[in-house]
Amino acid sequence: MLKLLKYELKANQKLLILGVVMFFMFVLMRIALTGDIFGRVNGFNLLISTVFLGGLPIVGLVIYFFYATYKIMWSEFSSHEGRVAFTTSISGFAFIASKLLTVLIFAIISFAIHLVLVQSIMFTVLTPSYSMLSPIRLISQLLEQMTGLFKHILILFISALFTKTLAANVKFKKSLAFLVFLALHILYDLFARVLLIFIDAVTNIPIFNWTFQAGPIQLQNLTEAGMFFSYLVGIILIVAMTFLSGALIDKKLNL
């Protein structure tokens, strides 16, 4: 898998360099505008920071990340280029896992740029007591965003993969892929919830700290331990979806 990762990084090295350059450029811009990378932004500087660091660059960052993700995950399926990979004895799991690791590298770079662009302004102004540099909060936020992100990427990928595997010869394959997309979202949330309820029931660890019930609607809030387990459950489901993608490539490919 490391060999695959090497080629994925080589294939996307220009985008990778662009991300790193963007990060340092925005760090320098922020220091130039506010005098401090994580310092509190006030008055006129806040206005300038919001315009120059919060507007267009955010749109650019979103486009950058999604373009990179699309290119990494889908290039071998969207054209004939790179299909040599499917004639090798590489397992589908290794193929997808190396792609996800590459996306993870891009996600970390994008997350770092995001911190410089928005979060530091928001947290220092709106919630000044919030410590941006608290490692636990940073890790918690990173885990929350990454599990959420990879959940969506994998659900989207598996749905699209249906058009190249099980549903390759179906007339309305794109509509079917959309239905698979919806079904996978529902199944993911259902599994995640069942697993958390299961952990809550079989261990002494409190997962939910309050429940609000009004007719059929039930709202539950997670404790800190519950949050940790929700990330863990997220990681388990992401690994399961990676295996599912790999199995589809190994057993049901239809190019």
Partner: protein, 233 residues
């Protein structure tokens, strides 16, 4: 007889289209087969199934006794009709890629073939002409010590000089322990390369015979027979 490929009643549909219909075929080690047929006869589909790029089909396909899978991909060298290489790589990087992912890839043989084919290590795949890409694909495929070689239209859109080089490379790569299946509709280019012919039309095997026997029986060239067979198909 030592069969490398056994196909029984193979059926493949693309939606309502019947691409392959009740194909029964065995391929032996040590032989070079020509898979001949007009466009849309099912040649590429058959090769893709053997290469493991199409996994959904009915009935049985066995390569060295195993269903097409990551295991059989270790012994199958496939040359597709379109370039499947990464366009951003240089020739040297494609060689490294093959070396990294195909255990049977022979670096020495690759270097020799690249030199014979006038390929420059520093050229980027994207910038290569169609003919040079064809040379590169064939050089990489034949640098593997595979048990089964699948060549899909290796001579399409290339000049005479390149074609002669490709044919010479194919001849030099023939081994007793391997089998080669060459799909083409340029019968005249490959006639003297082949031992057995398989005529495919509309997903059916019309004929599978030794090329010498065919010539003796019909007293005609293969090109003439090809035209007659497919006129009546």
């Amino acid at each position: 007889m030592d069969n490398i490929v056994t196909i029984r009643q193979l059926q493949k549909n693309f939606g309502p289209t019947n691409a392959l219909n009740s194909i029964n075929l065995t391929l032996e080690k040590g032989k070079v087969y020509g898979l001949l047929g007009p466009n849309a006869s099912g040649k590429t589909t058959l090769l893709k199934i053997l290469a493991g790029l199409i996994s959904s089909y009915s009935r049985e396909v066995l390569i060295d006794g195993h269903k097409p899978s990551t295991k059989t991909k270790r012994i199958v060298a496939y040359l597709p009709d379109r370039s499947d290489l990464y366009s951003w790589m240089t020739v040297r990087e494609t060689i490294e890629y093959y070396h990294d992912f195909f255990e049977d890839f022979d670096m020495q043989k690759a270097s020799e073939t690249m030199e014979f084919m006038d390929l420059n290590n520093n050229d980027v795949v994207e910038k290569l002409s169609k003919g040079m890409k064809a040379r590169l694909k064939l050089a990489l495929t034949l640098a593997r010590d595979a048990k089964l070689y699948l060549l899909d239209e290796p001579f399409d859109g290339i000049d005479i000089k390149t074609r002669e080089k490709l044919i010479e490379t194919i001849i030099n790569s023939q081994r007793d322990d391997s089998c080669m299946l060459i799909s083409t509709h340029h019968v005249n280019y490959v006639e003297y390369l082949l031992e057995d012919l398989i005529f495919l039309s509309k997903g059916h095997v019309l004929l599978k015979k030794n090329i010498e026997e065919l010539r003796e029986q019909n007293n005609k060239s293969i090109v003439k027979m090809y035209v007659e067979v497919f006129e009546n198909a």
